[in-house]
Amino acid sequence: MKRTALFVLIGLFLLAPLASGPYLLSLLTTLLTFAYLGQAWNIMMGFAGQLSLGHALYVGLGAYVSAALSLFWGIPPILGVFPAMAAAALVGSAIGFLSFRFAVKGVHFTLLTIAFAEIARLTFQHLSALGGTGGLFLPVEARTGVDLIHLRGDPRMFYYVILAMAAALFLACRALMASPLGYRWQALREDPAAAESLGVNLLRVKLAAIALSAALTAAGGVFTAFFYNALFPDQWFGLGYSIEIILAPIIGGLGTLFGPILGAILLTPLGEAITAVTDGLGWQSAGIKPFCYGVCLLLIVKFLPDGIWPAIRKRLP
């Protein structure tokens, strides 16, 4: 049943651009971006139980590194993605090492992730070589055709790129969950003391989680950089963006494979639906949408505290 549902979902996503106009395509691209980023974050929190509220740091790093490599050295994003992922993995590992080596955990670790994202935001604001507060712009060329090497093309190409990335990450996470490392992460998440007593090297598995999650998030950053072509530190390193990343997996179901996807499928159109309804009712007041959005999130968290996917899974034959 689950497999059938998965195939139907993949089929729908593959065929969607044929039936959708530019607006729907734009919405689906946003949806898949958050599904991808949520899945990458889920490795750290959902699988390994380490809460990061500063994942925008890795999106920003990925975006800036790949954009700078392309702008200043002509390195296309298809190659630039590797140094971008490596840089994010390195920074993530450094933060993880500093924290885990010195037993910084729980909320204190979470605060540290926020602090590092803020440090990065302020640092990039002062890096005039990368545009500082004035922003870093990638040249926008004619967006027709398909150039995967330079990530240049029409919105449909970007849609399929992020669809491929989200699908690949889903499969990778599925394999990871069933791997020895995945089991160690789950042991760490459920009971660190018990895991350690069984011989799990906690420092090593935590570092693996943060490095992998950071690197994969940075790959998402590369996509966003070349999709939007304009990078501003406030936009890509901000706490608001970190929160946006984690909403889909939390609402969809933490630690599950389908959770981030389902969360994104629900949340992205939810915002649009609220706008349509409030506009239709003539409630034009600014802020009504965030208010309604917040109420919906509260209701989901109240009635489905484990997320939507676990609730659905229970009912599946």
């Binding site: 002062h126 922003g135 949408k289």
Partner: protein, 402 residues
């Protein structure tokens, strides 16, 4: 006895008469304008201010025979939302987009417009790169960041020259937020080349959220500065002036080379006479233009408690540009608008500067900043002379002599 005609109606009638040759009545269907603004989120205050300009535009443009149908979309100060809202507006039939206040959001919207062949008229967004991308559909009626700062600093020289005021040393106080840092960086780069007749001594960055600025003003006072250059962003301007009064720091002039804070309703309300004589250099409405008078009258009627500011004027002008293009094209279709927009030559408009016209990159280079001095708790144009409502008063009268 015939019906009485009010002064407002007279001004509106006169404006319509002035425009009649240029802006002939159009019997065509109204132009569908999609307006993108950050009405909620971090930039909500600025977005709401822009929206007031749009709200008032429908009536004013209708008087001029330029009917528009306006749909406003909230970008929520979010780049993803800005892009999807732009797509939605176009899907819903918008023939031209106007917006989007923030440079990052504007860049995202610009790419959508380029893709869809729909014109975008930028009301406010200062990043120079937006018009350096070779877009065919993007037209900006707002100065670039560099131009804003250069004009802001040059006007200080003009103010000193016109008033004969001699100052030797300036203290530069700036908010340490993104905007303040960007402005401070630009001023640091541009000031040496402008040969300002004073030295910028103490540069003091402050936290916009601080409770008071006793230390910062103390430092400025101790530096012996007789001119205060200020880049504020809101309430901080009130706190800074208050602290100057408290510490009896009496600079000869307080000038902002282009930042919000000192020309806002709250500033006037809170500081009263102590807010007077402070100067801000920025693009402003031309109080002498006939269309400005019509707009100001309509604005005052619709928003009696709101202050007319730069955001209002530029948002109105962006919509005016779209409506004018539709009139000249004789069509509201995006294709026709795209052919008409590069030929824009609007001499009757509201902001200070020459006729609205776009260069090959879609940038209007004819916008000029003005020096706005607070007088009797309202912003008054004091420079350039041809637009001035009053002459500038410098040095400022002492705090206790007002």
């Amino acid at each position: 006895m015939g019906p009485k005609i009010s002064r407002r109606q007279m001004v509106a009638g006169a404006t319509a008469a002035v425009f009649a040759p240029a802006l002939r009545l159009s019997a065509a269907a109204p132009l569908k304008v999609g307006l993108l603004l950050p009405l909620s989120g971090a930039l909500a205050r600025e977005g709401q201010s822009c929206k007031r300009g749009a709200d008032v535009s429908t009536g004013v443009l209708a008087q001029l025979g330029l009917p528009i149908e306006l749909t406003v979309a909230d970008t929520e100060t979010n780049i993803d939302t800005a892009r999807t809202r732009a797509e939605k507006l176009i899907a819903d039939g918008a023939q031209v987009l106007v917006g989007a206040f923030d440079s990052a959001h504007t860049m995202a919207v610009a790419q959508v417009c380029e893709q869809r062949g729909v014109p975008l008229i930028i009301n406010i967004a200062a990043a120079p790169n937006i018009t350096e991308q070779g877009f065919r559909t993007v037209f900006r009626n707002f100065p670039t960041a560099g131009r804003l700062t250069t004009d802001g600093l040059s006007l200080i020289k003009d103010l000193l020259s016109v008033t004969g005021l001699k100052v030797e040393k300036a203290a530069f106080l700036h908010n340490n937020d993104t905007f303040g840092q960007a402005m401070a960086g630009a001023i640091g780069k541009l000031a040496p080349g402008l040969e300002l007749p004073f030295a910028i001594g103490e540069t003091i960055a402050y936290d916009g959220a601080a409770r008071d600025y006793a230390v910062e003003i103390g430092r400025a006072k101790a530096s012996g500065a007789d001119l205060v250059l200020m880049i504020s962003h809101g309430e901080d301007a009130i706190k800074l002036i208050r602290e100057m009064v408290k510490q009896r720091f009496e600079p000869k002039a307080i000038i902002s080379p282009g930042s919000p804070g000192m020309y806002e309703a709250q500033f006037y309300k809170t500081l009263g006479k102590f807010g007077d004589y402070a100067i801000t250099n920025l693009p402003w409405i031309n109080p002498r233009a006939p269309l400005s008078k019509t707009l100001l009258a309509a604005f005052g009627k619709q928003f009696p408690d709101a202050l007319f500011e730069m955001n209002v004027g530029f948002t109105f002008e962006a919509i005016l540009i779209a409506a004018d293009a539709a009139r000249r094209a004789g069509s509201t279709a995006s294709k026709g608008l795209l052919e008409a927009l590069p030929m824009t030559n609007l001499s009757e408009h509201v902001m200070i500067g020459g006729p609205i016209a776009f260069d090959g990159k879609g940038q209007n280079n004819n916008i000029h900043s003005a020096a706005i001095q607070n007088r009797d708790s309202r912003p008054v144009v004091v420079l350039p002379n041809e637009n001035a409502e009053m002459t500038p008063v410098l040095p400022m009268p002492g705090w206790q002599k007002r």
